[in-house]
Amino acid sequence: MLSFEVLGQTIVNGIAAASIYMMISLGLALVFGVMRVVNLAQGEFMMLAAFGSFWLFTLYGVDPYLSMVAMIPASLLLGYAVYRLIIRRLLGADDINQFLATFGLALMLQGIAQYLWSADLRRLPYVLPSLEVGDVTLAGVRVVNIGVCLAVLAFLAWFLGWTGIGRSVRATASNRMGAMLCGVDVRRVDATTFLLGTAISAVGGTMLALVYFVYPSVGAGLIFKGFAVVILGGMGSIAGVIVGSLVLGITEAMVNVYVSSQLSALVAFAVIFIVLVSRPQGLFGTAR
């Protein structure tokens, strides 16, 4: 059972899962880093984008990797509305209130999706040929997903590291008051960050639709994986998100193959609990 092929295949499976986890966690981490708001509805942005790509393919035969791009402007519209109507009012609000308000938003979006499209589990019938590397088989869509994920990370690295607005985002995350005193329009930074997170989740939504089911509460299940990743990596740390996603994805895959498939559902929750009580700043965060 402990053959190299199984191990290799398991790690690849884990990385493929991690690429999806990264898409939801990046949004969570960015928004938390800059605004200190935990946005529980991040998963629903993903769900809506997944439905968008699903319907574009099912009804009009649009290639999902094309609709992935089309989902970005659509998600920006929704994201801006959510930011203006809800998120902006939650700045500096009580933890409990932020949590419950965004939870309310999440439920509302789920309800709307269910009202429109029913609770059925659906799958986007799109396949790409698999790759054989030795005894390890790589599903085509998963390989492309990993590629898309790397592209998103590269974009993010460029945006945050090399652009002026990116520097403002980092500055605001690092010290909000300091950024204001430097003349940064922090509200614009907030909006930019929130929309960036929304857009990444929208891209993730299409990735999700290609390998998972599409249904109204798909995002609700994923948001907790996102929490586990963000807590593991350190709230608000981008490097933490990358490492956290890989650790979670690969650990889950390993537990699934070598221990028990049911217990692999426990990994994310165990990570949340154990990391919070033992090292609340996570792997990459600094103690606050």
């Binding site: 980092r170 500055a171 690092s174 008051m177 204001m180 430097c182 940064v184 329009d185 922090v186």
Partner: protein, 238 residues
Amino acid sequence: MLALDSVEAGYGQAKVLHGVSLTVEPGEIVVLLGANGAGKTTTLRVISGIIGARGGVTFEGRPLIGMAPNRIVELGLLQVPEGRQLFADMSVEDNLLMGSHSARAKPHRARALEQSYALFPVLKERRTQKAGTLSGGQQQMLAIGRALMAQPRLLLLDEPSLGLAPQLVTAVFEAIRRSNESGMAILLVEQNANQALRFAHRGYVLEGGRVVHRGSASELADDPAVQRAYLGLRAATA
């Protein structure tokens, strides 16, 4: 240049400023003295637009109350805040570059960076280091350097000497004086009244959110009440 007229401000229900009036003229160094909790920092926050207030605050005739902090920075009014408010996990150079964020400062960014490095050579040595890893004095230099990057016309300084070794205090004040000589007006909040009065043109004394004394630096230094309250201990130990 800057004028405050009966400014009232506070946090929630707790009122801190009960009608503060003061002015800063071009090219001046004005010092704001007062005990802890007198409202010095709150006054600076009102000017920078960090907190709201009632009353009149104008900068070159333009009302500032209700204006967003980033717009105030665009006017050339910069604050080096208490506690420095640096971007601890960003590099020294990124911190300085953030200083020239405003549209009016951006075109002069390269030259301003040169000037900052010339003023504080130690910052150039450590340009790639994270700001959080600098010593207290270096952080203060970085905070001032960052503010200067914005090409301010009026610089607000909140306790620049706090927690610094004496020779560093001298260096910091020297840097401030040099900036002033190039035409920048300065409003300084200091507890180290002795040094501040030696260096400022005029001063105000705040007590319980009100201006209780005002005058030229030498007048204040000679005022017995000011001496008793703010210079006494210093005078005795000096």
